[in-house]
Assembly symmetry: C2
Homo-oligomer: 161 residues x 2
DNA sequence: GGGTTATGTAGGAATGGTTACTATTACGAA
DNA sequence: TTCGTAATAGTAACCATTCCTACATAACCC
């Protein structure tokens, strides 16, 4: 269980933000899960506690919270952006069958950047690595039935059971 | 200069497509550049030769051409998808300052996947690696003037001079 | 060739995630 | 409390992408 202080204001550069009830709830909800939810998944989660919160508020606060380093904005390929309550740099695995996203508990390999340093005329300063594969569930499903493996993952189908 | 046959039909699985004038022009234009253009950049390029072509036609044909393996669809982070006339698997560098995208002429490192094979309970089957850095132009600009380094790259600002 | 059906085409309309705007409300300092 | 500012809910606008539909063309059979 994660407890977040709601007394001191958030800081971003030299701008300070209030910790409002909505912002607090969004932050608590994203810290609660490991599912890398999308903005509208978080909207649904927050709405269970604040039925009048609006989707725009969720988007705006996720932007602010990531600006303050309290959450991480993920830009994995695909239509919808995802958010991560874990702010440490880490890699992700993306299930190619159901769309689920999980952490890969290995620290960032900076050696990758040095490997590629001379390969182009760019000065390499960072990298983004995303692993692709099959989650445990889909491994089993794939092994069992060799039917057509479920067409492209629907928009809201990557809930973690 | 790249010449593409327009006599034999394109094949995708067991579906065959005609090589229409529009499709031909789009293919020629993307093969002509190394800039990884977006769909509407290609629309502008094609429009210089076919003033009546529509944006939807460009999207549809890029989809078809990538399905046939004649072009590559790139899903780098960011709003707009990019397309690549080079169909071989290769890595890309993304300039964090101007948004330009270039090739990294190093073949795909499959070792990456084996490194991460046991790190999660996923079966790793692929990976996406994107390098970030400063292009030659922006290296110079950064060194010369330490002014504010140009806000986030505008939508149509990454033309290669 | 003539007729018929399947498939592809171009352009415009619709979709959906995201952001921007506006009137109203909540907060915090004086 | 009062005043000034930031945040909110609700809604409209935005824009990349996808879908729809009337029309055209190819393929097929006879
Ligand atoms: Mn994570
Ligand atoms: Mn390329
Ligand atoms: Zn899965
Ligand atoms: Zn640059």
């Amino acid at each position: 269980m994660v407890t977040i202080t709601n007394k001191e204001p958030l800081l971003s550069h030299n701008r300070k933000f209030r910790m409002t009830r909505q912002r607090q709830v969004i932050l608590e909800e994203i810290k609660k899960v490991r599912t890398h939810p999308t903005a509208d998944q978080l909207y649904e989660m927050a709405r269970r506690r604040l039925p009048h919160i609006s989707l725009g508020t969720v988007y705006r606060n996720l932007e602010i919270l990531s600006e303050c380093g309290m959450v991480q904005k993920l830009d994995l390929g695909g239509a919808q952006r995802r958010f991560d309550g874990n702010t440490k740099k880490h890699y992700h695995v993306h299930c190619t069958r159901c769309g689920r996203v999980d952490d890969v508990p290995i620290e960032a390999v900076v050696k990758i950047q040095t490997t590629f340093q001379g390969a182009s005329n760019y000065k390499i300063t960072g990298h983004k690595l995303e692993l692709l594969g099959l989650c445990p569930q889909c491994k089993k499903a794939k092994k069992a039935l060799t039917k057509r493996p479920g067409r492209r993952a629907g928009r809201k189908s990557n809930s973690h059971p």
